[in-house]
């Protein structure tokens, strides 16, 4: 059973406040380009939003693909996290992920993905339409 965020996408309005709070929490800046969740607005067709984030899938192909063994299990909350120090930004994880859940930061120095904010995700707390759930 995947342990990551869950989303009722039909309720999403595309406000991206999840990305704002995520970047503020992780990098101390209001900087959606460094957010661990990405919202894509697709209008006029199909008039939908696509939410990209790590669902913490059981198969974790990113872990298998990483040559630096930089994606490690955090046993306290039972999910895989990127170790920034070990990551070489080779991009193998990005290619391996079928869910568009991991990508390189804008400067291309390391891979970023949702770490569930140590167990209580900020985006879940602030989402005004209760789209996101833990």
């Amino acid at each position: 059973m995947a342990k990551g965020l869950k989303a009722d996408k039909s309720k999403c309005t595309g406000c991206q406040v999840c990305a704002l709070v995520c970047s503020a929490t992780h990098v101390g800046s209001f900087k959606p380009s460094e957010s661990r969740i990405r919202v894509e607005d697709k209008f006029p067709e199909p008039a939908d939003f696509k939410l990209n984030y790590c669902i913490q899938c059981d198969e974790h192909p990113c872990v298998e693909a990483c040559p630096a063994e930089a994606i490690k299990l955090d046993e306290a909350i039972g999910i895989y996290k990127v170790d920034k120090e070990l990551c070489t930004a080779c991009g193998s994880c990005v290619e391996a992920c079928p869910h568009s859940g991991i990508w390189l930061d804008p400067s291309g120095t390391y891979a970023i993905k949702c770490d569930l904010c140590e167990g209580s995700p900020e985006c879940v707390e602030i989402c005004p339409k209760r789209v996101l759930k833990r």
């Binding site: 309005t13 991206q16 209001f30 209008f43 006029p44 900020e122 005004p128």
Partner: protein
């Protein structure tokens, strides 16, 4: 910089194809904040008085504000500031969506564009730099296609673009600037200023961030404000459930819903265009601007019939009132089609609906013949003819060529009494509230700094929609002065109109962003400074009491039904409100700020530069 600002301004000289970056004038940022105030200060300084707004001499500014891109709620807007080709006044026109924050993330607080490109171009702004790019392949395309082509050409799927459609290219004075398909810096003809500079779009993609002094403390508090003061704020309930279309029934009940070119304020077909009609017939999903917990916008799509496939965000109240009831149109699906075509053409739907309604009126009165109106049977409510109008106007075809410059200028060409029927102030068509049923709105329209407007003061909230008396001149001046002061500050952060943010909370936000203790009194003084600065700009352009007027119909033609039945806005009441308004602002009897007033709000230097201010 950790004060919400990026500290940088981008300057673009289209004539000489020169781009430079300069530091933000911090002294001015302290005195005028950002957005409206700061842009007005730059424009006052740099624009020569009396220039033709469509000449290369005009200046086009695009500004954000210190809160834009941060977690201060509902601060997605950017503002286009220029001298309006429609009104000849200062123009500040705002749009939500995603462009504002993107400009900040690219590293700029504002962009100041001068001159005229030799051939069609667009400005491509990325992290800390910009380039002028060839737009010959995009010129002529509608705004949807323009965004698509820019994304393809830049290789950035989520590049954001403030662009014009064919209407702006053809210098229509009711052309707007469009971003994110459906978000418009709508009023006053800013699209024509883009067009006059051969500027198709300002496109931007940024990966930087916005910071303020105490990030951790602020984020904690901002989260609380986002939920308590936005999502759970009872003042936002209607915006969350319905958005602006909820106003249709309020206006219908108050008898102020513009109907068939302002001939009455009640529309028998209102149930076909009200919020319930929208929700049950065309609603697809809610859609928000960046950083908004309200999501007042509705994505709408027509699923069957003549207009099958038409889609838009909205239509919003102003569009429904002016393109719906005012055109005798009781079919929300037709209004969706009309709104989509306005967006694609890059036309302000408010003025486009208004000139369409006015042309229908002239047609029904026999002032315009079928031949004059491109062979259309342009009767009120005739869907087939109606739906063709945005394209006809945007492309300047036949009657569209005349209507594309707004009703005031069109009337000069048409004559035959049509001049007496225009419903505008300073050439800008009315918003969708009949002032004969809300005397406060009469004053708001006459004294707005950019022509008839509802976003500088909205006294209808307390008179026709509230418990106040809509038919008295009493107390309306004070409401307008307070609204002018508050909106001057709101449009400088830049907050969205739909955030019912209190003065004390604005002071807290200002303190958090700047790191300097800011009180409500500080902000009030700043609001007064901004409003007086813009007034001084308009005075320098020759505006005074003689221009703060109402169209004749409002004074002579009583509304026939409903609560305002038999009412006009009597001249004596109007003049009394106007005199009181000037007195409250500390302006002389002609509406010119006095030296004393200018000094008291910190504008002594500005006063010295305007000969009429004594």
């Amino acid at each position: 910089m950790a004060d919400g600002n990026t500290g940088k301004v981008l300057r673009v000289d289209l004539t000489n194809e020169k781009i430079t970056t300069e530091p933000l004038n911090m002294e001015w940022a302290k005195q005028y904040m950002g957005g409206k105030g700061l842009a007005a200060r730059y424009l006052f300084e740099e624009l020569k008085p009396g220039i033709d707004p469509l000449s290369p001499d005009n200046i086009l500014e695009i500004w954000t504000g210190p809160a834009v891109g941060s977690m201060v709620p509902l601060t997605s807007r950017y503002v286009v500031v220029t001298k309006s080709p429609q009104s000849g006044t200062f123009l500040d026109s705002y749009a939500g969506g995603f462009v504002g924050p993107e400009i900040k993330y690219a590293g700029f607080d504002g962009i100041i564009i001068k001159g005229k490109a030799k051939k069609p171009v667009y400005l491509w702004v990325t992290d800390d730099k910009a380039e002028i790019r060839d737009a010959r392949n995009i010129w002529g395309k509608d705004t949807y296609k323009t965004e698509e082509l820019i994304r393809k050409e830049t290789g950035q799927d989520y590049a954001r673009a403030a662009c014009i459609g064919p209407a702006g290219e053809k210098l229509s004075l009711i052309a707007c600037v469009v971003n994110d398909l459906t978000r418009n810096a709508g009023r006053g003809g800013a699209g024509a200023v883009f067009g006059s500079k051969n500027l198709k779009a300002v496109a931007v993609k940024g990966t930087g961030g916005v910071e303020i002094p105490d990030m951790d403390g602020f984020v904690k508090w901002a989260k609380e404000m986002f939920l308590k003061d936005v999502v759970e704020n009872p003042d936002h309930a209607g915006s969350i459930t319905d958005g602006t279309p909820i106003i249709v029934n309020q206006s219908q009940n108050a008898g102020v819903l513009p109907t068939r070119d302002w001939s009455t304020g009640e529309f028998e077909g209102h149930a076909g265009i009200d919020s319930d009609a929208l929700k049950t017939r065309v609603f697809v999903r809610k859609k928000a601007c960046f950083d908004c917990g309200i999501a007042c916008g509705s994505w709408s799509k027509v699923s069957k019939g003549r207009f099958k496939g038409a889609a838009t965000e909205g239509p919003e109240y102003e569009t429904i009132g002016l393109c719906g009831s005012n055109c005798g149109m009781g079919n929300i699906e037709a209004v969706v089609k009309f709104a989509e075509d306005c967006d694609r053409m890059g036309l302000d739907s408010m003025s486009t609906g208004s000139v369409t309604a006015w042309a229908m009126d002239l047609y029904e009165r026999g002032i315009l013949s079928k031949k004059d109106v491109n062979g259309l049977d342009l009767k009120f409510g005739n869907e087939e003819a109606y739906a063709k109008m945005p394209n006809i106007i945007g492309n300047r075809q036949g009657i569209g060529d005349i209507l594309a410059d707004g009703s005031k200028r069109a009337a000069k060409k048409i004559g035959k009494g049509s001049e007496k029927l225009t419903v505008e102030v300073k050439g800008v068509e009315f918003p969708a509230y009949d002032p004969r049923g809300s005397f406060g709105m009469a004053l708001a329209y006459a004294t707005s700094d950019r022509g008839a407007d509802h976003n500088r003061a909205w006294p209808i909230a307390t008179d026709a929609y509230g418990s106040g008396d809509p038919f008295t001149s009493e107390g309306k001046a004070a409401i307008c002065v307070e609204d002018n002061t508050r909106t001057s500050i709101k449009w400088s952060f830049i907050f969205c109109d739909f955030y019912a943010v209190s003065w004390p909370n604005m002071a807290k936000y200002a303190t958090a962003i700047s790191g300097k203790q800011t009180t409500e009194q500080d902000l009030r003084l700043m609001g007064k400074r901004i409003w007086n600065l813009v007034r001084a700009f308009n005075v320098r352009e020759g505006f005074s009491r003689k221009d703060d007027t109402l169209p004749e119909r409002m004074e002579k033609e009583p509304l026939p039904v409903g609560k305002p039945k038999g009412h006009v806005v009597p001249r004596a009441d109007f003049e009394r409100m106007l005199s009181e308004y000037y007195a409250l602002w500390g302006w002389d009897s002609q509406g010119i700020p006095t030296r004393k007033t200018m000094d008291s709000v910190g504008l002594a230097d500005i006063a010295r530069k305007v000969p009429a201010i004594k």
